[in-house]
């Protein structure tokens, strides 16, 4: 499956969140991940797409979400972009801090980082790109070190 790539442009809607999640689930299954890893990847993709649709594009129909699934030699890579104000990765509150623990929101990026091997967030001016990487177990060059 190495080398496979799917690129989609999604509307800023809740349906897009469900579509992205379903696509990631199928792609991860095809890439050979086990059931638990597929669930983690799917949830990370769901959370990242929610951020793009809700917090980035704010459901603006004029703004689109870029969604790319790639299978490289040793990893599954998901890249999600929005056209919103931009998310500064250095200004994301820690949801585990006592003062944030009972807040209703603010756990999406935390869960994404918990479920993926690497997460890269880049401001696009305007917009945000988030790249989610999950290494395929047993493939040479496998690197489980998580990034910030």
């Amino acid at each position: 499956m190495a080398g496979k790539r799917v690129s989609l442009t999604l509307e800023s809607t809740l349906d897009s969140v469900n579509s992205a999640e379903a696509s990631a689930t199928r792609f991860a299954a095809g890439a050979g991940f086990d059931e638990d890893e597929i669930a983690r990847i799917s949830m990370a993709v769901r959370e990242a797409t929610i951020n793009a649709v809700l917090h980035g594009n704010a459901y603006d129909p004029a703004k689109k979400v870029g969604f790319v699934l790639e299978r490289t030699r040793d990893a599954m890579v998901i890249t999600i972009t929005d056209q919103g104000q931009g998310l500064d990765p250095n200004k994301i509150p820690d949801p585990l801090a006592p003062e944030n623990l009972l807040k209703q929101s603010g756990r999406g990026i935390f869960l994404i980082r918990a479920f993926m091997d690497e997460v890269q967030i880049r401001m696009l001016h305007p917009g945000t790109e988030i790249k989610l990487i999950k290494h395929v177990p047993g493939v040479a060059g496998d690197n489980k070190e998580a990034s910030q």
């Binding site: 809740l14 769901r46 929610i50 009972l102 209703q104 929101s105 756990r107 869960l111």
Partner: protein, 114 residues
């Protein structure tokens, strides 16, 4: 699978049997409206049975937290019953497992309310 919520009363406790997915959109809204309706009708002891909830996202977690704080702010108690492994793991990761009073037996859960 969309979320469903059925409420029953046992010994003065409002037990809400939830099933499906608690996610951004319909699932979270149903949970919010159900708890709001119960609190509005004077229910201060609420037990959320999550035994048939197979999926929850950060929005759903947020709704559980919001329900917990809104009931507590009214002087009531909201507890969780029968967590599936996925929901249990998520509450552990987010450090909310110790915030909520989590039960795995309905009879014991009912007796635990003050």
């Amino acid at each position: 699978m969309s979320m469903k919520a059925n409420t029953r009363q046992v010994d003065g406790i409002a037990i809400v049997d939830l099933s499906g997915r608690i996610t951004l959109g319909e699932g979270s809204v149903i949970l919010r409206d159900t708890v709001r309706d119960l609190v509005g009708k004077g229910n201060k002891k609420i037990l959320l049975n999550l035994g048939e909830v197979n999926y929850i996202d950060s929005s759903g977690i947020g709704e559980l937290v919001s329900a917990f704080t809104s009931v507590r702010n009214q002087g009531g108690e909201l507890k969780l019953l029968n967590l599936t492994k996925k929901v249990h793991d998520l509450l552990q990761i987010t450090k909310l497992y110790t915030v909520f009073d989590v039960k795995d037996d309905e009879t014991a859960a009912i007796k635990s309310f003050k």
